[in-house]
């Protein structure tokens, strides 16, 4: 039986007219003067869009920043792989866009499970991000006249997405990374590479530092500061196969959770509709094909199952363009959750294509006829090339085969309007927090949120905490809490090394992923989730008795040990995902419970009972967590059944 706290959680959002909430809030935030800022140390964990932009900006302001990444360079953070684009309410296309419309689309796209105040702020600062990135030298796509070009993404009826070929994340990250390296050169940011954060140091109820393991030498160190910012991305790798990079993990946020930070909405995960299907047993990860492809590609399957004709030989009348038929208004541009679920349905009905029958066609034949091959190559050339390298087929000649894959996680550590978790001094930015996307994220909104948090929110909202609670100089290296955290990590590492079992880390991760994808993936049931929890517990016990790590010493570069720490955390965290999914007796966005659907198979929300963010408090591994509810109120967007028909 899950215990629920009777005190509602307060997001500390401003009140009054939504258009002026952020402006009024900023006006009343306490400041730290320019000469005092150098007295405060701030740790930024992760150097993706959120982390690099936050570290660079706080460095520019004069704080003493320590930026930490487990990569050999900040430029490798997985934000680099985002393809399609970044939204901004510039209305450069004169097509009716506005801050309000971006706000509205995002709240609706998130299936009414996001905080209105946060989303409106996101929409407001979106335009500034484009200005900043352009000034940094981000080579966005341009019209012939030299102005910026836009395209459209799923779930919206305007063109507000800015892009740099199919490598928008790469270029935005390099912009932030370059700003970060400028601060490194100025010595306002101390950059630590190849260090894994394995615990959060909490002193007198405030986050005051982190424990890091040097990945080259295995040496453990404590780094203390006045505040800690976690910008460590999402947890899609709980599914093992996902579009996330191999090293993406939940470790920093999970260990913060174990130190008291609430984890919110872990069951809100996004399964992206357009990924290259699995090829077989040796598959190590899945590759996304940008959603932007749905601008020109048409999704279909043959009307009758096991149709072995070449796709080009199947006449139009025998093709089922299921998104266009079911959703005439949005067609192929329905939001991601809707597109993914429909791909699953047609494959479940036996209409899937390819070797495994778990794939649908994404066809560019009509677009090539309409626009010419050259124009298609200009728009998507690098994506087509990538597809051909991986799948061994030429998408200019034969339709791509695609299938949904875990891609993004809307859940994350709970934060208030100032991006601070319930653990004072611990701030959480970007995908690592839960705040802006509700139960489903719209395309091109992740880059927007990561950079909004780092460039334009945290530089304002961190100062009041530092002014009030910063202890200017940090915590002594021999403080009991510092030593305790270091010892804890050392013991855990020693335990992992001493097991010397029979199974590889990878084999545990893969088995966990299969359970999660099957029972906590695109559709979920109470019975399935209970089954998953039992399996996860069994797997977790086996892991701690039977995992094998080589090289057998930790004082060296040891890739298997790095992975073992991460998988150990996924084995604990996954249980919380299932508990959260089981507790939410409704379907919304990416969380689809089979028991709760409309007659035509759409997600059926229960606003009366579930219009809240579920923030979980840790009570021990295997012990039931406590549920804290943050009620979500909708004053400016009317709650309706989402319809894309």
């Amino acid at each position: 039986m899950i215990e629920t706290s009777t005190t509602p959680l307060d997001g500390k959002c401003p009140t009054g007219p939504i258009e002026t909430r952020w402006a009024r809030h900023k006006e009343h935030l306490q400041l730290v003067g320019p000469t005092n800022r150098r007295k405060y140390n701030v740790i930024v964990v992760g150097t993706g869009l959120a982390g690099a932009s936050a570290a660079a900006t706080l460095g520019e302001q004069g704080y003493r920043v320590t930026a930490i990444t487990y990569h050999d360079s900040p430029r490798r953070a997985h934000s680099v792989a985002a393809q399609g684009g970044i939204n901004a309410a510039k209305n450069y296309q004169n097509d009716g866009d506005s801050v309000h419309r971006l706000f509205y689309d995002t709240v609706k796209g998130g299936d009414y499970r996001a905080r209105e105040s946060n989303v409106h702020r996101l929409a407001e600062v979106s335009a500034n991000i484009i200005d900043q990135a352009t000034a940094q030298g981000v080579p966005f796509a341009r019209e012939y006249g030299g102005t910026l070009e836009n395209r459209t993404f799923g779930g919206v009826l305007v063109s507000r997405t800015f892009y740099a070929r199919g490598q928008t994340g790469q270029q935005l990250l390099y912009g932030a990374y370059q700003s970060l390296m400028r601060q490194v050169d100025k010595k306002s940011v101390n950059l630590l590479t190849m260090k894994d954060v394995l615990d959060i140091i909490v002193v007198d109820g405030h986050a005051r530092g982190v424990v890091v393991r040097d990945l080259k030498t295995g040496k453990l160190d404590a780094i203390t500061a006045d505040a800690v910012l976690l910008c460590t991305g999402g947890y899609s790798n709980a599914f093992y196969l996902s579009t996330n990079a191999m090293k993406c993990n939940v470790t920093a946020t999970w260990r913060a959770h174990k130190r008291g930070a609430f984890f919110a909405n872990p069951c809100y995960t996004q399964i992206h509709p357009t990924c290259i299907p699995e090829h077989g047993e040796s598959q190590s990860k899945l590759t996304l094909m940008s959603e932007s492809l749905r601008n020109d590609g048409r999704v279909w399957v043959p009307r009758k199952g096991k149709d072995t004709r070449a796709p080009g030989a199947i006449p139009a009348a025998e093709r089922y363009y299921y998104l266009e038929e079911r959703y005439p208004t949005f067609g192929n541009m329905v939001p991601r959750d809707v597109a993914s679920r429909n791909a699953k349905y047609v494959c479940d009905d036996g209409l899937g294509v390819g070797q495994t029958g778990r794939a649908v066609f994404l066809d560019f034949k009509d677009a090539i006829e309409r626009l010419g091959k050259e124009e298609i190559a200009r728009r998507y050339g690098n994506l087509f090339d990538m597809y051909e390298k991986i799948a061994g087929e030429n998408p200019y000649q034969t339709p791509m085969k695609i299938y949904p894959a875990p891609h993004y996680t809307m859940g994350g550590l709970w934060v208030d309007y100032d991006l601070m978790s319930n653990l004072p001094g611990l701030f959480v930015l970007g995908e690592a927090n839960f705040s802006d996307h509700g139960a489903n994220r719209l395309g091109a909104s992740a880059l927007m949120q990561g950079l909004a948090d780092g460039y334009f929110v945290i530089p304002y909202t961190l100062a009041p905490y530092l002014a009030k609670y910063g202890n200017k100089g940090g915590v002594a290296a021999d403080h009991a809490e510092v030593r305790g955290a270091l010892e804890g990590v050392a013991q855990k590492t020693e335990k992992l090394m001493s097991i010397k079992g029979e199974r590889t880390v990878e084999s545990f991760h893969k088995e966990l992923g299969n359970v999660m994808l099957d029972k906590c993936g695109m559709s979920r049931t109470e019975a399935g989730l209970n089954e998953a929890i039992a399996k996860i517990r069994a797997l977790r016990s086996e892991f701690w008795e039977n995992v094998r790590i080589l090289p057998d010493k930790d004082a060296t570069l040891n890739v298997e040990l790095e992975k073992a720490h991460r998988v150990a955390d996924f084995l604990e965290f996954s249980e919380l995902m299932c508990v959260d999914a089981r507790e939410r007796n409704e379907s919304c966005g990416g969380h689809f419970r089979e028991e709760y659907q409309t007659d035509d198979g759409e997600a059926k929300r229960d606003d009366e009972n579930y219009a809240y963010a579920a923030a979980w408090e840790f009570n021990g591994v295997g012990a039931d967590p406590t549920l804290h509810k943050e009620p979500l109120t909708f004053e400016f967007v009317k709650l309706t059944q989402r319809s894309y028909k």
Binding site: N128, A135, G137, Q170, Q171, E281, G392, F456, P459
Partner: protein, 254 residues
């Protein structure tokens, strides 16, 4: 995607640490799916080694989509393997015949010390970037993005240079271990854009001088770097950066 399997013989550079001696070890691997990527083949090798109680081969990798720049080693003398414009993570086993013998070595350059096996330390690249690879613009200063028009061709050409993923293949391919393609690509990207003009010459001089200080060699124009670059970045950027360097030093007196 028609799956079949092949066998390969791997000769892999094994080196337990930066200061330790290294040597080649030979491994035979059967049943490799032709649909798997080169790194998935190495995953398979590592799972086999672990099961046999042997230390797995350390290699750098992350996104496996050819964009993060983490992966990279030399296959039979070619950085990132035999295909042009392809990182090793995007190289697939269908490219090889059954019975192929593949020799895998780390990038070899004074400025890139080996960490373990096929992993090298490329932090020198970050030092080059810190020396000037940016536009100095604090958050809050930026004018409206459309206030300075940039022609489609110029933006597109800037992108060609900005596409560099910092993998280090150019250094590995160069007999002098020069970092000129990497450094010039960033110089060229920012020099193409109006926003990059104020610091154009100071940036060029600072970055190229830093590369030299870090122990990267000089360019002797063999153009091997362009052939090895997984993003097919042109050596034209090297000529342009050299022109700017001379102008910066001689005309502007930097």
């Amino acid at each position: 995607m028609s799956e079949s399997t092949i066998s390969v013989t791997l000769e892999v550079w094994r080196q337990p640490g930066t200061d330790a001696a290294g040597r080649f070890e030979t491994y035979q691997l059967d049943g490799v799916s032709t649909d798997s990527s080169f790194l998935e083949m190495l995953d398979m090798l590592n799972q086999k080694l672990l099961t046999e109680g042997k230390e797995p081969v350390a290699f750098e990798h992350d996104c496996r989509e050819g964009i993060c720049g983490s992966c990279g080693f030399v296959i039979n003398g070619n950085p990132h393997g035999p295909d042009r414009g392809t990182t090793v993570c995007q190289l697939h086993m269908r490219r090889f015949k059954s019975g192929a013998k593949l020799t895998l070595e780390p990038w070899r350059a004074k400025a890139f010390p080996v960490l373990r096996d096929l992993m090298v330390d490329r932090s020198a690249f970050d030092k080059i970037m810190a020396a000037g690879g940016y536009n100095s613009v604090n958050v809050g200063n930026a004018p409206d993005a459309n206030s300075i028009p940039i022609g489609q061709d110029a933006a597109s050409e800037a992108f060609d240079a900005a596409a560099c993923i910092g993998c280090g293949a150019c250094v590995a391919a160069c007999k002098n271990a020069s970092a000129n393609l990497f450094t010039s690509a960033k110089i060229g990207h920012l020099a193409m854009l109006p926003q990059g003009q104020p610091e154009r010459y100071t940036r060029t001089v600072a970055m190229l001088d830093m590369a030299e200080d870090l122990g990267f060699g000089a360019c002797s124009w063999t153009q091997e770097c362009e052939a090895a670059c997984p993003k097919e970045i042109s050596v034209k950027w090297i000529s342009r950066a050299q022109r700017d360097y001379v102008k910066g030093r001689v005309v502007k007196g930097i």
